[in-house]
């Protein structure tokens, strides 16, 4: 309902309504861009490009999915196209910024690692353990193949279902399920192997 209202307003010339669309989907787009694009400087251009594309393609949106899913699909495709074009640059970027640095990216503010879902108990030691646990998990997720990272975060953090994930990535439903299964198993095994039970 809200999707139709917002899209209708934008199509009737009220571009300010697009602000709400950006605000509503910014987090989802960030999840995809951060998972697929390792070079921080490129994310800004890509994020703008994604929303500009969404704006121009809006008249073609037929409400066959949620607006957020449609924008996520644009985000995913834009990132994949970018990766195809910038492959050599991407490799050099990866060499310069190892996974550990990614964990400490300003986009993942350290203070946040204790906030959502981590009630402040006032015990510094407990906070430290939780922060460290989140850092370990983030590092392990960053170590997964980009597609696995994207699927796992969209499913578990953004609560997207298999059908929506298939639409976003253009992969068949069965492949999405299979990739998600493998990603979770890989993540669990890596964590148990490296950190034993304490990591979980």
């Amino acid at each position: 309902m809200e999707d139709k209202y917002l899209v209708g307003r934008v199509l009737n010339g009220d571009t300010r309504a697009f602000t709400l669309i950006i605000r509503n989907t910014e987090r989802l787009v960030a999840q995809i861009v951060f998972r697929l694009i390792p070079v921080a400087e490129d994310r800004k251009d890509l994020a703008q490009d994604i929303f500009l594309k969404a704006f121009h393609k809006l008249p073609a949106f037929r409400f066959q999915s949620k607006l957020s899913t449609w924008i996520a699909q644009i985000a995913y495709n834009t990132c994949i196209s970018w990766l195809e074009k910038k492959r050599p640059l991407l490799f050099s970027g990866l060499e310069e910024s190892p996974v550990v640095e990614e964990v400490l990216d300003p986009a993942y503010p350290e203070k946040d690692l204790k906030e959502p879902g981590f009630p402040d108990t006032g015990w510094p030691a407990e906070q430290l353990i939780r922060k460290e646990r989140a850092l370990i998990l983030q590092k392990e997720i960053n170590g997964l193949p980009p597609v696995y990272q994207t699927l796992i975060t969209l499913f578990h953090q953004e609560s997207m279902n298999y059908e929506e994930l298939a639409r976003v990535t253009g992969l068949p439903d069965g492949t999405v399920k299979s990739y998600l299964f493998r990603a979770r198993r890989m993540l669990k095994e890596n964590l148990l192997l490296k950190y034993k039970k304490e990591a979980l």
């Binding site: 571009t15 697009f18 602000t19 950006i22 605000r23 910014e26 987090r27 960030a30 999840q31 951060f34 994310r43 800004k44 994020a47 703008q48 929303f51 500009l52 704006f55 121009h56 994949i80 990766l83 195809e84 492959r87 990216d105 300003p106 986009a107 993942y108 503010p109 946040d112 690692l113 906030e115 959502p116 879902g117 981590f118 646990r133 989140a134 998990l137 983030q138 997720i141 193949p145 980009p146 597609v147 696995y148 796992i152 975060t153 578990h156 953090q157 299964f181 979770r184 198993r185 993540l187 669990k188 964590l191 148990l192 039970k197 979980l200």
Partner: protein
Amino acid sequence: MIHHSSDQELQGYALDPAACPPELIAHIGSCETCRLAAEDYRLLFTQIKELPAPAFDFDLVQQVMPQLKTVQSRTAADRFVEGFLVVFILLCCIAPMMVFRKYILNMFGGLSPLLMYTLLGGGLIILLFTLLNMYRKYRRQMQWLNFH
């Protein structure tokens, strides 16, 4: 020999125990190994959900909104230029063909069937190689993205 639940079943149980078949629920309830493995998954999923979401370190609205107006005002002009270019290119192609149609017809009319087939065959082979190259490129990109 004890038959433990598969990883797929354990993940399904950790995601939504209510959606699992009663036999699986009963097994996990009675088997310590499977119960602990399912608990590992449940804890992992909870931890992932609780991770902070990444955020852009700039105001996306401020970056995007000014560009929408610029692009919008250009749309009408763009359409005119695009239309003009299409018509111009079509004219450039059609006009010489109209002027030199006699010569063109004579040129192809004088060709032997063998030469015609050779030209067509050559064209098809080039097309085939181009498609094959495109497919190889696609496979390489997919492999690089760890789709396999």
